[in-house]
């Protein structure tokens, strides 16, 4: 089909992807599948890194791959390939059907009901052709300017891991044997800088900053990204350890977002039906303070977590996960929903291999009224965390202990930087102890959280 001639261009083969997906489903059914699903990913990638003013790497490519999931009765199996030639696809279909013989009959395994399938109306603003508008030279220049802005910001910025500029576009196609056939296209561009600063003792610190957007029109300037990266790096110079203490902790949006990611994992229906989350069985219960409302919304125009349908072909939606502290909903795909006797929330995600997982739309904590500055001003003695290091989270128990870095707060002011510390607590208690939520919600990815203050956690140092 798409590869009949060797000179087929990427553009021409794109036109056929929906047809290929539908055809794969049709052929799987002919060969004996009782249900089938096909996903195709197709994308282009560009990245460049400029270090100390010189291009260090330049990378450019396009690729595609296809995954098939078949059901034979209640048994499912899956195959994938990067070779979309007809012979290869036939082999993949046959292998999937053969492989389905070794899996266990699972009464809950299925694709969604036909009535659940669909795609939300309207343009979600996910694709902008302008990401392709810059020439290679202009892209390199974008990266170069970001790095230069960081290097020029302060003489203590002495080195750099570079400035980078990235562009990616991708298309996803999904077809299933209940007649669903859909596709969407997304674009992405980003600029970043990673400067290194050195103090009088020769001790180095590194930090970064970045901007990411679906359109060049909304990408921050290279200069502002470089300058912010420089400021973040400089504020780490002279970092020291602190004594072990129990103090109020303020998490900046970058780290708060990581905390919120743990809440997403805890509300993930897979963890729930496996009884592997501290939120299992807590629907309808007060799990957080009344100030806490958490929302997952896959329909926000231009959102990094937006798409017209999930990777099982179910329309995305807005789901209130926690409302005024009460757990209102888990996040589910078809399988987890059936296991729990609930309906899917349109959160199916899909790699090429394996069964569908559960992914977020745009997952965020509803902002409060205070500015970050006001939140800091209310703390006499405490920690402002700007970085996490390591992964010490147990979703079964909620136990949380991660390496951290940031600034110490004295009498409402950010003072000296601190490092080589850990912050520890339990997510169950941390959710109840979110005492203040900032007004600074900003999406730099599909999960976003404003500045938050949590009381009662341990800072471990000397």
């Amino acid at each position: 089909m798409s590869t009949e001639t060797e000179t087929t261009t990427a553009a021409a083969s794109q036109l056929d992807l929906k047809e290929i997906a539908a055809d794969v489903v049709r052929r799987a059914m002919q060969r004996g599948a009782t249900a089938a699903e096909c996903v195709i990913r197709d994308g282009t990638e560009f990245s460049t890194v400029v270090r100390l003013g010189e291009v260090e790497t330049l990378k450019e490519s396009d690729s595609k791959a296809l995954g098939i999931r078949v059901f034979v009765g209640q048994r499912a199996a899956n195959t994938w390939t990067s070779d979309l030639s007809p012979q290869s696809l036939q082999q993949m279909i046959d292998s999937a059907l053969e492989l389905a013989k070794v899996t266990t009959e699972d009464p809950f395994a299925s694709i969604p009901e036909a009535a659940q399938l669909g795609s939300i109306d309207g343009d979600l603003d996910l694709y902008y052709d302008d990401v392709n508008s810059l020439s290679t030279a202009a892209r390199i220049d974008y990266a170069r300017r970001a790095e230069r802005a960081a290097l020029d910001f302060d003489p203590r910025i002495s080195n750099s891991e570079g400035g980078s500029f990235d562009v990616a576009t991708g298309r996803k196609v999904l077809a299933n044997s209940h007649g669903f056939l859909g596709e969407f296209q997304r674009s992405y561009c980003s600029v970043s800088a990673v400067p290194i600063a050195r103090d009088e003792q020769g001790k180095m610190q590194r930090d970064y900053w970045y901007s990411v957007s679906r359109t060049m029109g909304k990408l921050e300037s290279a200069e502002s990204v470089g300058q912010t990266a420089a400021k973040r790096t400089l504020q780490r110079l002279g970092a020291r350890k602190v004594k072990t203490a129990r103090v109020p902790i303020i998490f900046d949006p970058q780290v708060a977002r990581s905390l919120l990611g743990h809440i997403f994992e805890a509300a993930n229906g897979e963890s729930i039906y496996r009884n592997a989350s501290f939120l299992t069985g807590k629907l309808g219960e007060q799990i957080a303070g009344e100030n806490v409302t958490v929302i997952d919304d896959g329909t926000i125009p231009g959102g990094f977590g937006s798409s017209p349908f999930d990777m099982e072909g179910v329309p995305t939606r807005r789901t209130v996960v926690v409302e005024n502290g009460v757990l209102k909903s888990y996040l589910l795909n078809t399988y987890a929903a059936k296991k729990l006797g609930l309906a899917t929330t349109g959160n199916a995600s899909r790699g090429l291999a394996g069964n569908p997982g559960i992914g977020s739309g745009n997952f965020f904590l509803k902002p409060g009224a205070k500015t970050p500055r006001q939140i800091i001003a209310d703390v006499k003695d405490g920690l402002y965390v700007t970085e996490f290091l390591g992964f010490g989270v147990n979703l079964v128990t909620g136990d949380f202990s991660r390496g951290a870095g940031g600034l110490w707060i004295v009498n409402g002011e950010l003072t000296y930087p601190v490092e080589e510390i850990t912050v520890a607590g339990n997510l169950k208690e941390m959710l109840r102890n979110i005492s203040v939520i900032g007004n600074d919600l900003e999406f730099r990815g599909s999960v976003a959280c404003p500045t938050i203050r949590i009381d009662g956690m341990t800072v471990a140092g000397e």
Binding site: E6, S63, G67, W80, S82, N159, G390, G392, E419, T422
Partner: protein, 498 residues
């Protein structure tokens, strides 16, 4: 420009050893499967160097993978796949151009070569020379015995049964078996010609134990560069299942970990992730070339106590981190990084070795054809010392004995590292006492080994579960240490300071 003489290529391939002869049917895989020929290869390299540049290489990869997953005592997932592609790299001074294609048609590879060539400026000056195959190791079976999928399924079913039989408090069991066979062919403009067939398999078991309101996790797993047969005789599903169950049951009684600075004893094996994170990454040559590592400029200087000797060894048979050749076609090595506390060497790839004037240690690795190679670890471990593990424990008045770890992370530039102990105990007056939960160890790479005061005689490598991430690329690695005593390390936890 001379065309690649296939005759001499075949001559180079025919090393007169039986082992190599056995591999012949797998050799020249890409030539047969994709109709690749010597003339094409020269064309691709010439296109890659058409705008100038010092070096170009082609990296062909064909990978098949199978994964099986068990959950709730059911085989819920079975997946098989194939990925194939070619990456073209051009090096011009410190610059690297890279492009790849998952379509191995000549036009697509040529297109990738021309795209990668954009990095270079100036007239082409590098002749493309005849290919020579370097000496390579023979560390693993090129073609593991392929078994029926049903036999592989049996492995995870056995793990499920064994974990549940271990203790009635084990309420959840997940088990997986994953195997891949990666065929690579690397052809460089300096004549580099290397092929390898790299098997890799792994079992993993995850369990949850419950008792009343308390619950705890346990994880275990292992594998290496072999097929599923190794799980029938050496590391059986029961071995991993019992180990995961044991950890979870112990954790049911764990108490809060005290926080603060204290003596820390690391158990042998997987806790070697400390070396990997705290030391290994800081010694990768790219960071040192750019002077962005906390270890930059410390060659020949003391970075550890004189009891510490650390190596990176890619030549151990069948180990998860081992490779016959790295992803630039060079044989892997046993590289001494730290000898009796003195920093002796860095881990380099082609580019960093050339730019730094160092030997190429054969540590250029990449996740797949979609990625640019960079210096990476293989199997990194500390050699055994002279202390008995019992004496080490006995010497600690108040501290933490960390036996298993979840994972870790390092900031190369300031040297900070963090890792989380999934199994740890309190040491009180020379005796191992209560199990601890939430123990997190945090420290500084260049400092931590200077505080090693005792090194056990019980070196152990991990069972083969490590995957290391760097710049978005994941590669399999091995780690190991003997029992180690660190005199002072920050322990993070939720318990009150002593």
């Amino acid at each position: 420009m001379d065309c690649l003489p296939l005759r001499s290529l075949a001559g180079e391939l025919g090393h007169p050893t039986d082992v190599t002869m056995d591999m012949d049917k797998d050799k020249r895989f890409f030539f047969q499967k994709y109709g690749l020929n010597a003339v094409d290869v020269q064309r691709y390299l010439a296109a890659a160097l058409s705008a100038g540049g010092d070096y170009a290489d082609l990296y062909f990869e064909y990978m098949t993978a199978t994964s099986l997953g068990l959950d709730e005592s059911m085989v819920k997932s079975a997946s098989q796949g194939i990925s194939a592609g070619c990456g073209v790299r051009v090096i011009a001074g410190e610059r690297t151009g890279y492009a790849y294609t998952d379509d191995l048609a000549p036009e697509r590879i040529l297109h990738a070569a021309r795209t990668a060539a954009l990095i270079a400026q100036g007239p082409s000056k590098v002749p493309v020379v005849d290919l020579k195959e370097h000496a390579a190791h023979n560390l693993y079976p090129a073609a593991p015995v392929d078994s029926a999928v049903t036999e592989k399924v049996e492995l995870i079913l056995r793990a499920d049964r064994a974990a549940r039989a271990y203790d009635p408090r084990i309420t959840e069991v997940r088990a997986s078996y994953v195997e891949e066979l990666r065929r690579i062919l690397i052809i460089g403009s300096d004549g580099t010609f290397a092929e390898d067939v790299q098997p890799l398999s792994r079992m993993s078991v995850f369990v949850i134990a419950r008792s009343g309101e308390t619950s705890a996790r346990g994880t275990s797993g292992g594998g290496g560069r072999h097929g599923m047969e190794a799980f029938l005789t050496e590391k059986t599903p029961e071995h991993f299942a019992r180990e995961a169950a044991r950890q979870a049951i112990i954790q049911l009684d764990a108490r809060e970990c005290p926080a603060g600075e204290m003596e820390v004893v690391l158990g042998p094996g997987w806790p070697g992730i400390l070396l990997h994170e705290a030391i290994g990454h800081g010694l990768e040559a790219d960071f040192n070339r750019k002077k962005t590592s906390a270890f930059s400029g410390l060659l020949g200087r003391r970075v550890a106590s004189d009891k510490c000797t650390v190596v990176d060894n890619g030549t151990l048979p069948s180990r998860r981190g081992s490779l016959n050749v790295d992803d630039e076609g060079n044989a892997t090595n046993n590289t001494v990084l730290i000898e009796k506390g003195i920093l002796k060497g860095y881990l380099s790839d082609r580019l960093s070795a050339k730019l730094m004037g160092l030997p190429n240690t054969g540590n250029g690795r990449r996740e797949s054809y979609e990625h640019i190679p960079m210096p990476r670890m293989t199997n990194t471990y500390m050699l055994a010392g002279e202390d008995s593990p019992e004496d080490i424990i006995r010497s600690v008045k108040h501290g933490v004995y960390a036996v298993n770890f979840g994972g870790g992370q390092v900031d190369i530039t300031n040297g900070k590292f963090v890792f989380s102990a999934s199994e740890a105990y309190l040491i009180e007056d020379g005796k191992v006492t209560a199990p601890l939960k939430n123990a997190t160890l945090i420290g500084n790479g260049p400092d931590v080994l200077t505080r090693v005061s005792m090194v056990g005689n019980d070196l152990k490598l991990d069972e083969g579960v490590g995957t290391c991430g760097k710049d978005g690329q994941s590669v399999p690695v091995g780690v190991g240490i003997p029992t180690l005593k660190i005199d002072r390390l920050t322990v993070g936890g939720t318990g009150s300071a002593r």
